[in-house]
C-alpha cells in the first residue's frame, strides 16, 4: 500500500534509520519512544506516529530488540527458567537457589509494570505523543538519571550486599552476578519493576529508570544494568507479541517489508548496544546519558516551542 501521491508510508531509508535508532535507544537509558517521536519531527518526516501502520512497524523493531536481549542473556535465562521450575516443583524458593529467587524477583517486578502498561498504555500514548511533550519528558529523564546517581551514594552499598551474600548458603549453579542480584528483596524488586511503568511517558527511559532504581537499592552499575535488561526482556517481548496481529493483519499492509528491514537494523543495533553497555557500566556511570538527555530535551523543546 502506498500513500496518496505514490509515496510509501515509510521509506526503506526511514525504516533503516528508525530501526537503528530504536535498537540503540531502547537499551541506552535515553528513551526509545521519546526519540521515535522527536527525531522524525526534527528531520521533517511525516510518518504518522500515531497511525496503526507505524505502530505495526514498531512491533517488528521491538520484537527484534526483545529477541536479541533474550539471545544475549540466554545462559542466564536458561538458569533462571530452570530455577523457576525447581521452585515450582519444590513449592519453595530455597535460600541456596539464587536462580529461583531471581526468577521470582523478575516475575514480581514485571507484574505491576505489565498491568499498568496493559491498562493505561493506549491512554498515555494518546495524551503525550506530541514531540513537545516527549522533549519535556526527555529533559525530565535527564534529571531522573542525575538524581539516581546522587541517591546512589545514600543507598545501602556493596558492603551490605557482600554481607547478605556471605549469609546465604553456597550455590554451585548460579553465576556471581545472579547471586548478587538475588540479594534484592521482593519489595525492592516490586519498586524497581513498578518504576518501569514511567517509561509509558514518551521521553522517560525504561532502561534509565530501572538502572536508576537498581542503583537506589544498592546495586552496582553493572548489576543494575544486567537486572534492567533481564527485566526488560519479557515486557518488551510480551508487548510486541500482543500487538503482532497488527503487523500481520491489515494494519501492516504496505509496511511489512520496511518492518523486516527495520527489525534487522534494530536487532543489529541492539546487539552492539548491549555489548557496549555491559562493558561500559563495569566502570562508568549514568551521568553522560543524563547530560545528553538534559541538553537534547531542552534543545528539542526550544526548537518545537519557538
Amino acid at each position: 500500500m502506498v500513500a496518496a501521491g505514490g509515496q510509501h508510508l515509510i521509506s526503506y531509508f526511514q525504516a533503516i534509520v528508525i530501526g537503528f535508532l530504536q535498537g540503540v535507544t531502547e537499551l541506552f537509558p535515553i528513551s526509545s519512544l521519546g526519540h521515535a517521536v522527536i527525531l522524525p519531527k526534527l528531520l521533517g518526516w511525516h510518518l504518522g506516529q500515531d497511525k496503526p501502520y507505524f505502530l505495526a512497524f514498531l512491533v517488528a523493531t521491538h520484537l527484534a530488540t526483545a529477541t536479541v536481549l533474550f539471545i544475549f542473556f540466554f545462559p542466564e535465562w536458561a538458569r533462571i527458567l530452570k530455577g523457576l521450575g525447581r521452585s515450582l516443583r519444590d513449592r519453595q524458593i530455597r535460600d541456596d537457589d539464587p536462580d529461583a529467587r531471581l526468577a521470582w524477583l523478575l516475575i514480581v517486578g514485571t507484574i505491576p509494570a505489565g498491568l499498568i502498561g496493559l491498562l493505561f498504555e493506549h491512554k498515555l500514548r494518546s495524551l503525550f505523543a506530541s514531540p513537545t511533550a516527549a522533549a519535556a519528558f526527555l529533559t525530565a529523564n535527564g534529571l531522573v538519571l542525575f538524581a539516581a546517581e546522587y541517591l546512589r551514594r545514600r543507598a545501602p552499598g556493596a558492603e551490605e550486599r557482600a554481607q547478605e551474600l556471605e549469609r546465604r548458603p553456597e550455590s554451585e549453579t548460579s553465576s556471581d552476578a545472579e547471586k548478587r542480584l538475588a540479594t534484592l528483596g521482593f519489595r525492592e524488586a516490586v519498586g524497581v519493576g513498578t518504576a518501569q511503568a514511567a517509561a509509558l511517558f514518551p521521553g522517560i527511559s525504561r532502561a534509565g529508570i530501572t538502572i536508576g532504581g537498581g542503583l537506589f537499592v544498592g546495586l552496582t552499575h553493572e548489576d543494575a544494568a544486567r537486572y534492567a535488561f533481564l527485566l526488560a526482556t519479557p515486557i518488551i517481548g510480551a508487548a510486541a507479541l500482543l500487538k503482532l496481529p497488527d503487523l500481520v493483519g491489515h494494519n501492516g499492509d504496505g509496511v511489512r517489508g520496511q518492518a523486516l528491514v527495520g527489525a534487522l537494523c534494530a536487532g543489529a543495533a541492539a546487539w552492539f548496544a548491549i555489548k557496549f553497555l555491559m562493558r561500559y557500566f563495569q566502570t562508568n556511570t549514568l551521568t553522560p546519558f543524563a547530560v545528553y538527555c538534559l541538553f537534547a530535551g531542552l534543545g528539542a523543546l526550544l526548537v518545537f516551542v519557538f
Binding site: 521452585s87 515450582l88 519444590d90 513449592r91 519453595q92 524458593i93 530455597r94 535460600d95 507484574i111 505489565g114 498491568l115 496493559l118 491498562l119 549469609r167 500482543l242
Partner: protein, 82 residues
C-alpha cells in the same frame, strides 16, 4: 498453619474469579460483558477488551502461585556457627 490454609483457599478462590473475569473480557465484546465490568458500553459494539482480560488472567495466575507456595514445605533455617 490454619491461617496458611485459609489464605491459600482464599487465593485460589480469588484466582478462579479473576481467570473467569479474564475469559469473559476476552470472549465477549464490550456490549455483552456484564454492565458492572469496567469498559462496558450500552450500545452495540464488536470491540473486545483483550488487554483487560490478559491483566485479569495474570492476576489470577499470581493468586494461584501465592497459594501454591503458601501451602508448600517451609525451609528449615539452621543457625550458622560463627
Amino acid at each position: 498453619m490454619r491461617n496458611d490454609r485459609l489464605l491459600a483457599a482464599l487465593a485460589v478462590l480469588l484466582g478462579l474469579v479473576l481467570v473467569a473475569i479474564g475469559v469473559t473480557y476476552i470472549a465477549l465484546d464490550e456490549h455483552d460483558i456484564p454492565s458492572f465490568f469496567p469498559g462496558h458500553v450500552s450500545h452495540p459494539a464488536s470491540h473486545h477488551h483483550i488487554k483487560h482480560g490478559i491483566a485479569a488472567i495474570f492476576l489470577g495466575l499470581a493468586c494461584f502461585a501465592f497459594a501454591w507456595f503458601r501451602t508448600g514445605p517451609r525451609e528449615e533455617r539452621v543457625a550458622r556457627p560463627g
